[in-house]
Structure formats: structure tokens, C-alpha cells
Symmetry: C2
Subunit: 219 residues, 2 copies
């Protein structure tokens, strides 16, 4: 299957949007890829032709089994490159998404395998997201909850929901990274903000916007 970079980006977005929902809408894909709905419709026809998606006019899009397999390969490459950039080249977690967005399109199974070996076959990327293995098997990390919904008082940061530089830089500034242990001091119902404390630091409050994007596991 010979795919263009554009086709790969569509496949990846559809996979991402498909989590949970039945079918994915034209508008949702357009928003995700920062393009126009008309362009999505055009691409939908091409991907249907290549049997990578199921698509009926006006009735949404889903990946076929083949489409999912390809999506997982792209995600694997993306996340392995992110690991490489952080672990080997000392990039910080907010810098790597954009670069991985390009590196992920170098399609070579041998390269992917060797890169993974070189990195010690990591199972999560610098944002806490799971890395599919060579067979496309990916651990669902569903013992994770967003911080704004977590019940326990003592928690550990396991992943972030949002890769935006803005959020990640905010977390850097607050000293929050993967593995950071958090104690919930207080939850304010009024605006759903949370007062938290990190070891050796004064307590501070974070907004709902932030806390819903921090995925935690109870300690």
C-alpha cells in the first residue's frame, strides 16, 4: 500500500477521532487537520477507493481493519521518534510533537524496528501515550483518569491529554511532569479548580482546563 503523507495524516486523525465514537464526521476531521470539510470529502473518496475506510455519503467515516493497522504503524513511528528526541537528543516534551509529525512518515520497517531496539523498546512516549508494538498491539491505559475526575487524594501523573506547547510549558513551569506525585488539597466546586501540592513545594491551584488534561493513576 503506497500512501502519500497527506493520506497518512488523514488515517491517523481518523484513528484518533474514532476512539469511543461510532463514526467520524467530515467536520471533525477537517477541524483536527486544520483543513476544510470539502477537502475531507475529496480525501474520503480516495481512501474508500483504497479500502482503508468505510464511507457512505453523508454518513460518516470509519477505518477498515487495514486502515487501523496502518494507523497503528504511523502512531508507533511517531511515538518512537518522540522518545528518541527526548531520551537521546535531550529535547523537552513540548518540542517533539511537531518534529515527530514529519519523521513518522519515513516508512521503513527495518528503521522502526532498529529505532525501537535502540531505545530499549519503550512502551510509552514522553507524553505518557502507549506505543504500539511491531504487531500493532497497543496497551489501553485505561486505569488512567483525568485529574479533575480522580477520586483519590494521592496521585501520580501518568500522561497528558493535550500535546499543545501551551499546556506542556505551563506544566514545566509548575514542575509537573510524568511520574510527579500530587496530593489533592482541595477541590473547588465553583469553577472546578483543584488545589494541589507537590513534594517540597508550596500548594497551588490549577484550573479545570488544565486538570482535565492531566491523566493520573491513584498511588
Amino acid at each position: 500500500m503506497n500512501l502519500t503523507i497527506a493520506e497518512e495524516n488523514y488515517i491517523k486523525s481518523i484513528f484518533k477521532l474514532q476512539e469511543g465514537t461510532e463514526t467520524v464526521s467530515t467536520n471533525a476531521i477537517a477541524y483536527e487537520l486544520d483543513t476544510k470539510p470539502a477537502s475531507v470529502t475529496d480525501m474520503a473518496k480516495k481512501l474508500k477507493e483504497k479500502k482503508l475506510i468505510d464511507y457512505e455519503k453523508y454518513h460518516g467515516i470509519t477505518l477498515t481493519a487495514e486502515g487501523k493497522k496502518i494507523a497503528l504503524q504511523i502512531i508507533r513511528r511517531h511515538r518512537l521518534w518522540e522518545c528518541f528526541l527526548v531520551d537521546k537528543l535531550s529535547f523537552s516534551w513540548e518540542e517533539v510533537h511537531e518534529l515527530a509529525e514529519e519523521l513518522e512518515h519515513v516508512r521503513s520497517e527495518k528503521l522502526t524496528t532498529r529505532l525501537s531496539d535502540f531505545l530499549g523498546n519503550p512502551t510509552t512516549d514522553p507524553h505518557g501515550d502507549p506505543i504500539p508494538d511491531a504487531q500493532g498491539k497497543m496497551n489501553k491505559i485505561r486505569s488512567l483518569q483525568p485529574l479533575d475526575k480522580a477520586a483519590a487524594k494521592r496521585l501520580e501523573v501518568a500522561a497528558v491529554n493535550d500535546q499543545s506547547t501551551a499546556l506542556l510549558e505551563f506544566l514545566n513551569a509548575k514542575g509537573i511532569r510524568l511520574g510527579t506525585q500530587i496530593e489533592v488539597i482541595e477541590r473547588y466546586e465553583f469553577d472546578n479548580s483543584v488545589e494541589i501540592k507537590i513534594k517540597n513545594q508550596p500548594a497551588f491551584t490549577i484550573s479545570e482546563q488544565v486538570s482535565k488534561n492531566i491523566l493520573v493513576r491513584p498511588l
Copy 2:
């Protein structure tokens, strides 16, 4: 300067073909890039518009100073990735050119700098070619001669002229790699073949085709 991958590939080819010669011909570029002369003419107009080449209809192409600068950046990225693949991921020298052909197009100065640091700022790639530094300065591999023209009897392999898998696999089979020390036993005028000997191995003969692509320095 925002360049497409196609534009970068043209710039790089023109740079390569420009060595020595005055101007580069449409046909030469077409052959190098495995495309058609008409396509080269089309691209020449675009690159002239962007002031990366000097070009007058029917009178050949040369890179401008800006064009050369960009070419050297691409070559730097290409050769650094080749080093990475060989030194860190254990690829062999005949496998890396194709992959580097794609990786070279990820344009990030920070990535390039960090990759270079990670590799110990190498000055030559796995084929013996010099790597331009961050300022675009590249050591001319002076004092290197093709084996078919070298005068001395005792020589060291310093680079290869041809990146083709066919040649590199042939050299692998014969135990010839960068740094290999060669003793010239005999030169046969009839077909310009050379009988050579490598330490701990029986002597063997290589054709002119091969020997002109092995660059050596006298020991």
C-alpha cells in the same frame, strides 16, 4: 525560504553536478533525478524566481550563493542521518542512502545541531564523504585519488565515489571498507584492472569500473 521536498532534491542534485563544471545542463539534472528534461526546465523557472539558481534559457544552471548555502544544509542533514543509521542503529553502508534521502528533508536547525552533537560531531559520513559544519563549511577531500589512478603501492581506502547498493555490496563481499589497507600487486594495462591484496587474504583482481570508484590516500 520555504522549500518543497522536490525543490530541495533539485538543489542538492545541482550542487553535486556543479563540482568542477561551469554550468549544469538540463539533461544532467534530469538523469541524476530520474526525471524528464521538460520537468527540469519547469523547476528551473521556479528556482530562478526564488533566486536560488542563475539560469538563462538554453545556457545551463548554476546555484547562487543562497542556493549553495541551502544545498550544504541538506547535505549536512543527509550525511548526519547516515552516520546515525550506521553508528547507532547498526545499518550497513549500502542501506542508509535511501533512508537519508527522506530524513534529510526534516528541516530543523535544532534537530540537526543536536543530532550532530549526539554523534560526536562527525566530519565524514559512512561513505567517507565530508560533512559540512553548521556554517556550511565542508572539508574538500583533497589528497584523495581514485584507486585506478593512484601511484603509490600501499594505500588506504578513504571514501567511495558511488553510493549504489551494487558497488557497496561488492565491496562488502571483498572485505573492502573505509580504512582498509590495500597493497597494489599489479596493474593490467589491457583492461585497466588492478590486482590488490588485503592483509590476511589472498590477492584478487578488481575491474576498472570498481577501482575508479574507490578513493584512496597513500600510506
